[in-house]
């Protein structure tokens, strides 16, 4: 992929303000890994007044559930899952300071509006590139919900994890732009 701009977590508001749809980025630092079941629990914690097991301020959540690692590996395949399934859980997380999400596919209109309002970006990763992304992960730690198996909440450290800005805080959408340009 074309070399991208290096960004680090936690994401500052000023970095988010500079990102535009179509920008290639290389993300380094801490990511939280969560998908359907972990989101349900996380949001239940928040709505019922319990403190969440992760610090969401400036955080990026990666929508993913890896294959189990072989002995000596950090994680197995670790590519993105479809983001739109997590849209119903987005607002309470944004309210706590979540500033970015990584996944694949397009987001709902409601999620896009929320990202604009709370100044958060969505990064598209390449679906099906599980081994490629696995190579970008330098450590992994179970944070919560271990009983969910592959859906548990993890904290991972990544180096130069490539992604593309798919929704910026100005309402831009990569997928809409793509179809407008390429539709015959």
């Amino acid at each position: 992929m074309r070399a991208g701009r290096r960004i680090e977590t936690p994401l500052g508001e000023e970095v988010v303000a500079e990102l535009r749809v179509g920008d290639r980025v290389l993300i380094s630092g801490r990511l939280y890994v969560a998908r359907d079941a972990a989101h349900k629990r996380l949001v239940e914690d928040l709505l019922e007044g319990r403190s969440p097991p992760i610090d969401l301020e400036g955080a990026i959540i990666y929508y993913m559930a890896p294959t189990p690692p072989k002995p000596g590996q950090i994680l197995g395949a670790a590519g993105p899952t479809t983001s739109i399934r997590m849209d119903p859980y987005l607002e309470p997380l944004l309210r706590r300071g979540l500033r970015g999400t990584i996944g694949k596919g397009y987001r709902s209109g409601r999620a896009r509006e929320l990202m604009r309002r709370y100044r958060a970006v969505y990064f598209a990763a390449i679906g099906g590139a599980g081994a490629y992304y696995s190579n970008k992960i330098k450590s992994s730690r179970l944070v919560a919900y271990g009983d969910l198996g592959p859906e548990a909440l993890l904290e991972i450290r990544v180096e130069d994890f490539p992604a593309i800005v798919a929704n910026d805080i100005y309402g831009g959408d990569l997928f809409e732009q793509a179809v407008r340009r390429w539709r015959k």
């Binding site: 992929m1 074309r2 179509g22 079941a37 993913m64 559930a65 890896p66 294959t67 189990p68 690692p69 072989k70 590996q73 197995g76 395949a77 670790a78 590519g79 899952t81 479809t82 739109i84 399934r85 694949k104 596919g105 397009y106 598209a124 390449i126 679906g127 099906g128 590139a129 599980g130 081994a131 490629y132 696995s134 190579n135 969910l148 198996g149 592959p150 859906e151 490539p162 593309i164 990569l174 997928f175 732009q177 793509a178 179809v179 340009r181 390429w182 539709r183 015959k184």
Partner: protein
Amino acid sequence: MRRISASEIEEAARKLVRATFSNLSVLEERYKLALRLEESELGREALSILLENARIAGERGIPVCQDTGVAVFYVRLGQEVVVEGGGLVEAINRGVARAYSEAYLRKSIVSDPLYDRRNTGDNTPAIIHVEPIPGSELRMGFMPKGAGAENMSRVKMLKPADGLEGLKRFVLEVVERAGANACPPLVIGVGVGGTLDTVGWLAKKALFREWGRRHPDERYARLEEELLEEVNALGIGPQGFGGRLTALDVRIEHAPCHMASLPAAVNLNCHVHRVGWISL
């Protein structure tokens, strides 16, 4: 009459799953071909990463995609075969459980859709379609089916008056709505005819078809070509990043239906589409 033991079937299912996941050259060839056809810059970048991904998967022994799917089996069972020493379904499930554990594949099945979404821990039960055929052969097809593309698939009971044009509109509508979410470039299975329950299977059966084959009826073969061209005119492109390649193939399976019906199903599969076969 031919006797096949359940343990032979279990071993064949295990081997089939392992072999299907190990077959990376088919993916590398697919991405190389796609790179020759795709024009969009971002689409090509995505395809280059997918090609590199297949290479890394081979080198490091990691699955290409973390969604190692629900295990779908298409069993063509000769009517002269007698399965001994256990059940066919149980044998296949044991083979699946062993393969998913041995190969460090993800276990993605939850036990109950509504009340107890607890992971079953071994990726069973598999989805097993058994079709009786004449003779004494047992032939098993296996396809790991990821949820990203499955979730964007649809069934619709069209009206006979909708006809060919209605079917085409439906297919395009499904692909357009799926967009980036089904992980294009796609392989598209279309079922038409039958009933609500069978048309979904027709669409999935189309996905089991050998790569590069067209429908033997030239009218359907032509329709497959037309649909492929129209789907690729949508501009969705690899990963929804825009481009010429929204789908790699469209296959149609059809069946007779009630005079009042025109059932249609579109079963999408992602670019990591793989099917393996084994004969006993």
